[in-house]
Amino acid sequence: MKHFLLDVDERGVNRTLASFLERLVSDGMAGALLVPKDTASGKAAVMTLIKSPGEIKNINPFAPVSPVNAARIVSDLTITGVPGEKVGVLLRSCETRALVELAKHNQANLENIIIMGMDCLGTLDPVDYSEVNDPGGNLAEEWMEVSAEGEYREEIRGKSIRRVCSACSHVEADHAALHLGWVGLGGKQILVSVGDEFTGWASSFLGEGSENVPEGRQQSLGAVRSRREENKRRLYDEFNDRTRSVESLLKEISRCIKCYNCRRVCPLCFCRECIFSTEIFRHEPDYYLSRAGRKGLMGLPADKLLFHLTRINHMGLSCVGCGQCESACPVKIPLGIIFKMAGERLQQIFDYVPGRSLEEDPPLTTYREHELEPR
């Protein structure tokens, strides 16, 4: 990777980045872009596929909100084939890692996709974002400036970042051919890190570039990571106690209404037909009556525990800990932390880190004798 510095001009971060990305399109490096853009009301920043360079100007790339894990969107764009031209997709770490997992499971095609990464220090719940963001405002910039200067925060305009984000140490996005960094740069510059295919292009207008990142960035990144690791240990201790027995796990999930939102938003729950939506879980009336008869009564909807345990078994090895499940849960079950924690423990068994590498086979698709040794 070669590193270039992009100065933020008087128009602010968003406009500076808009010009930068416009150039990417006008120079023919990408035919379209998928980037976060504020809606007209300013109440949401949504991933937007932009074809016309003139439309790039109102983007909000660093908006601290991730309404859906964008890996899902890239999967939708490419599941039936390769896009006819290169599409640059701007993603945060949990999204690039999910995308790599999806590509490995043949749920996304990375051909003609340019992964553009960005620094992320956490995102707000979409509801909180719409409360505190103002149309045409500079919330992202505020967040970025304060964080970039090394001051550690988990709060934006009085709203806390999502709980899983506070336990996430993935600031930089992996697998990016082009990465936009801002942590540890004082808010007035953006670090553009590029792989070979973009070095020539970047040096055509950003100067020579360097092999090294600016002084101070590594320290800032290190400081954030250690704070996040600390948060994670604290949260894991808390949730370990809260879920270590069936009774306590039931306490957490007993208010589940089986809306399946967690399954719907999970980037790794990609089965076309989920077993919970099949005939297997459509029962005859008498089935319910006989089941109720066993204990004298039965709570409905049924099989909540079975649903969550099945989901952990199905996608735990691929869970990237993006926490979309938790944000989408209408009854506020702390699914994000529970799944991240359980997922990491399962991943450790196979020494597997989801999204780490495209070449690494998903553990359940390979057979290694030592994995069957009793443990």
């Binding site: 270590r244 069936v246 009774e247 039965m298 709570g299 359980a342 399962l346």
Partner: protein, 53 residues
Amino acid sequence: MKAALEMFGIEKERVWFRFISASEGKLFAQTVDEMVQTLKRLGPNPLKNKWEI
């Protein structure tokens, strides 16, 4: 799977995974017997009664 179940307090002895070749009929029968004995010893899954409703 065992690890996931154990994490939430479900005994891993309830799930068995064995490789038995098609030609090892006797071993298959033995394993089933063994499993039945173990499950009898463990008794019904306590989960059944832990469910709040």
